[in-house]
Amino acid sequence: MRVAVLTFPGSNCDYDCYQALKTLGGFEPEFRWHRDRELGDVDAVMIPGGFSYGDYLRPGAIARFSPILEAVADFARAGGPVVGICNGFQVLCEAGLLPGALLRNESLRFRSFPVHIRVETTRTPFTSTYAKGQVLQIPIAHGDGNYHATPETLAELEGEDRIVFRYCTPKGALSPEANPNGSAHHIAGILNETRNVLGMMPHPERAVEKILGSTDGTGLFTSLRSHLQGAAA
């Protein structure tokens, strides 16, 4: 299965995503440069973390205008699975492929440490191998991860089962202390209406090997793999 990993000037998790796909097997990752106009024949797209265009203006605000994003939008509209991680989530929101926005962390400081997130739905191409309610330990590293949306949008996300991950305590409880950035409804990751575009702030690609302290991110990749295998069959 071929997965396009986008590289913008300032991306810095592109290589990590590439390596995670390689390490877990079953994927053929390929880099796509921000100036490319075509994704080519790929089965999924990953938009990695980093500081695309230096986060100038706002995180993701310039990347959304890059030529490759048009191709990604077409791919998503055609139902192709797209995952945006950290800066990738910000880019997807800026591009209008996901609702809402990511504001400065409530603390106004960059925050980097392993957090716990709860799997809220397994009805997605990205979480089918997890159990609903399962608690994952995955690192975050961001300055702008405070998810914000209108009350109507939040109600829609809740009502349509489109909140994929929420920040929680190690035991799975929701609490302000366990919310690292002030996100509305403790949101750590959401889906688009057609459930094929995922944006999330935590970095699953940093939690795929025991030596890195956690393998809880593996499920995202195995879910995607079985989704693509299902689609191919």
Partner: protein, 772 residues
């Protein structure tokens, strides 16, 4: 550019340049003796441009004139050293065809006047030193010193420095894996910001900062040259004064990590392309130092045309262009005829590359402005001819008195000493630095095995079984009380930290932060510290492969503590099996102490915190015993016998146990420990005796650990056990005890620094930030 190879014109003064007067020479930080030497080298009066060039190159920052003779005393060679001092960074062989480049550098003065940009550009500079060797940066560390946090100004400095380091490193995408921070009023006006970086390369990808091949083209790469940071190198070589802030801020550079990230990718691509023969960061003293040093190392000459240098603003003089320290710029030597290919690579990364000159064979550093010669200096005397000094060094009386002070009355407290424990938990020197390192991306690049907060950070080398451990260490109080012993202690602690993480100490980069060396008591500190460092590095077989000297760290005539920071790297042959954390792993595990307790409280945080004193003899360093200990600890780890290992340092045994019990804060084990020593309990609990390591092991391995440790010839004993999570911390000796719930300790341990930083009363000087 216009090819000019036959210019023999003597440089003429430019219109508008000031006349060379003794006052102007003095303003450039050059002594009469140095000026005489310049006259001798040139055989005539320098032009204003030439005076600026000499001023920068012969500053302490570039010329090491007060430290060079001492630095020669340091061991620099070993079979695994590929590149020692004198290049952009040191390089060591790590096997498997790989090498690592690493170096530490200070940005103290810029950070004192503009903490955010000062610290950010410090990180930027050290990263460029690494990737100009052909290595991809894989980790950074930071070693910081500030005054006490009850000052609003100090809180402003800490917040700004941490944000500056974080924003820069996070954006470029390099994990921060460790470092240290220490607070003491001695650093109030002159904080220290030392940044270390480590890069990985294939051995054959090493490239040097040399200008070779007559006719090859010098190209300015990356950002354009502006008027920022002019005379940064000279500024870094002066004392700070109270009113220096405002006047000096224009001498601080401004960083752009986004451009740095592009420059990093472009430079590595350029090096791999084979189109260039040399590359160097335009760091301190900018184009002047990069071009002249590359010519000096290459044994060649260079000619540069100022009109061809891409600038940010019109009307910049050669003097300004040559001395600008605008960030994110490189000088590369392209193979003749490959300029277009070089430009194409830079354009891919949305950067510029412009030919600005060429390599010559006449050994001269020649500067043209529209074809007219404005400077013409022999390159070698410029880079290597800076006079070096051996100064008079005499120990200061104040130090002698402090060291000889009788501390016996402070050893008296007995019985329940929990209140003292709690008082010490109010010290940011002894409590968690999480507030700081949480602002740094520690896991990007998916290589971080041990994150900040323990003894040393560890990163794996993908594609091999190996890992690299790294740490920075130095206790300035010990060094003030006894610079030779303090420097030895710094090397010993750094090596111990690396060993506790499971690595073999391999090499050192150092940052010598001192006051004004023209003062005999400061020169004494410098000399003694270098001697102590040399002795310890020789014994541990950890050669010094480079580093940085930062002198004149004084504010209104008062010097910082001598602070020779040691940045040490070590190699783990099997990172998966040997990487070891400081944290206890399981309830019921046995806690053991390796090394010996002594009744030492000199220079301790206990004295500073409870008495406001920095006094007494610092902890004795027995280098041979230390080497034996480290060999033994590494042996235990490699045999898989211990589950945690933690160095015993500031705050003594009580804090070492507490830190192991708390780990990263996700779980707090209890501790039940009994000591039978008849020593004063405050010394047993809080004394900072070196050469001690706390380890834990599974109960079934206890006998094996004891036997193995004895086999290594190191003192060992069982202290007690790891008890249930959220249990109590209990430590007893024949004459005193500590007894308190872990939850109360955890709250203070992790809460002290955030509480200090989030004080609500206004920081009076913090408004300075808004005045730009």
């Amino acid at each position: 550019m216009t090819p000019v190879t036959e210019v023999t014109d003597i440089p003429q003064p430019r219109q508008g340049d000031p006349e060379i007067t003794p006052e102007l020479v003095a303003e450039h930080g050059l002594s009469e003796e140095e000026y005489e030497r310049i006259l001798g080298i040139l055989g005539r009066t320098p032009t204003f441009t030439e005076l600026g060039i000499f001023s920068a190159m012969w500053s302490e920052h570039c010329g090491y004139k007060n430290s060079k003779r001492l630095l020669r005393l340091l061991p620099t060679e070993a079979p695994w050293v590929i590149q020692g001092p004198g290049e952009n960074a040191g390089v060591i062989d790590v096997g498997d065809g790989l090498a690592i480049a690493f170096k530490i550098e200070s940005h103290n003065h810029p950070s004192a006047v503009e903490p955010y940009q000062g610290a950010a550009t410090g990180v930027g500079g050290i990263l460029r030193d690494i990737f100009t060797m052909g290595a991809r940066p894989i980790a950074v560390l930071d070693s910081l010193r500030f005054g006490d946090l009850d000052s609003g100004r100090v809180r402003y400095l800490l917040a700004g420095v941490v944000k500056g380091i974080g924003d820069y490193g996070n954006c470029v995408g390099i994990p921060n894996i460790g470092g240290e921070v220490f607070f003491d009023r001695a650093y109030e006006g002159n904080p220290l910001v030392n940044a270390m970086a480590i890069g990985l390369m294939k051995r054959e990808e090493l490239i040097l900062g040399e200008a070779t091949g007559v006719g090859n083209t010098l190209m300015a790469v990356g950002a354009r040259t502006g008027r920022d940071g002019i005379h940064g190198a000279t500024f870094a070589s002066e004392e700070l004064s109270e009113d220096a802030d405002e006047a000096s801020r224009p001498r601080v550079q401004v960083g752009d990590p986004f451009t740095e990230k592009l420059l990093l990718e472009a430079s590595l691509e350029l090096i791999r392309s084979g189109h260039i023969v040399g590359i160097q960061d335009m760091g301190a003293a900018g184009l002047t130092s990069s071009a002249s040093e590359m010519a000096g190392r290459g044994g060649s000459g260079v000619v540069l045309e100022m009109a061809d240098v891409p600038v940010r603003e019109e009307g910049m003089t050669p003097y300004e262009i040559l001395l600008s320290e605008s960030q994110e710029r490189m000088l590369v030597v392209a193979e003749r005829g490959k300029e277009h290919e070089v430009r194409k690579i830079l354009e891919k990364w949305e950067l510029e590359a412009e030919p600005v000159g060429e390599v010559t064979d006449d050994g001269r550093f020649r500067i043209l402005e529209h074809g007219a010669v404005v400077a013409d200096i022999p390159a070698l005397p410029l880079t290597d001819g800076c006079p070096t000094y051996e100064r008079e060094g005499i120990e200061g009386e104040e130090v002698k008195a402090a060291r000889e002070m009788d501390l016996s009355s402070f050893l008296e407290p007995e019985g329940d000493l929990t209140p003292i424990f709690l008082e010490l938990l109010g010290s940011p020197n002894l409590t968690s630095k999480r507030w700081i390192y949480e602002q740094y991306d520690t896991t990007v690049r998916t290589g971080t095995v041990i994150r900040p907060g323990g003894d040393a950070g560890v990163i794996r080398l993908r594609g091999t079984k190996k890992g690299i451990a790294a740490t920075t260490d130095c206790n300035g109080r010990y060094c003030w009380l006894d610079p030779r012993e303090g420097a030895k202690a710094a090397v010993a602690e750094a090596a111990r930290n690396v060993v506790c993480a499971g690595a073999l100490p391999t090499a050192v980069t150092n940052n010598l932060n001192f006051g004004n060396p023209l003062k005999p008591h400061i020169y004494h500190q410098l000399r003694e510290a270098v001697l102590g460092m040399a002795e310890a590095c020789s014994l541990f077989e950890t050669p010094v492969t480079g580093g940085n000297v930062s002198l004149f760290n004084e504010t209104d005539g008062v010097a910082i503590y001598p602070t020779p920071v040691i940045g040490m790297v070590g190699i783990l042959d099997d990172v998966e099996a040997h990487a070891t954390s400081a944290a206890f792993q399981a309830q019921g595990d046995v806690i053991l102490l390796l090394g010996e307790n002594r009744e030492e409280i000199g220079g301790s945080e206990y004295l500073y915190r409870t008495q406001g004193m920095v006094a007494g003899k610092p902890p004795v360093v027995d280098l041979l015993a230390e080497r034996r200990l480290q060999h033994g600890v590494l042996g235990l780890i490699q045999r898989g016998l211990v589950r945690s290992a933690h160095d015993c340092a500031e705050g003594g045994l009580a804090f070492a146990l507490l830190e192991s019990a708390l780990g990263d804060g996700s779980q707090a084990f209890g501790v039940d420990v009994e000591l039978h020593d008849r020593l004063a309990p405050v010394a047993l609990f809080f004394g900072e005796t070196t050469g001690r390591v706390v380890v834990s092991c599974a109960p079934e391995d206890e006998a094996d650990v004891l036997e193995a440790a004895r086999g290594f010839g190191i003192p060992v004993r069982v202290l007690g056990h790891v008890t249930a999570p959220d249990g109590a911390f209990s430590m007893r000796t024949p004459r005193g005890s500590l007894q308190i719930e872990m939850s109360a300790l955890a709250e203070r341990y992790f809460g002290t620094l955030p509480a200090l930083m989030e004080r609500t009363e206004p920081a009076p000087e913090a408004g300075v930030q808004e005045e730009f």
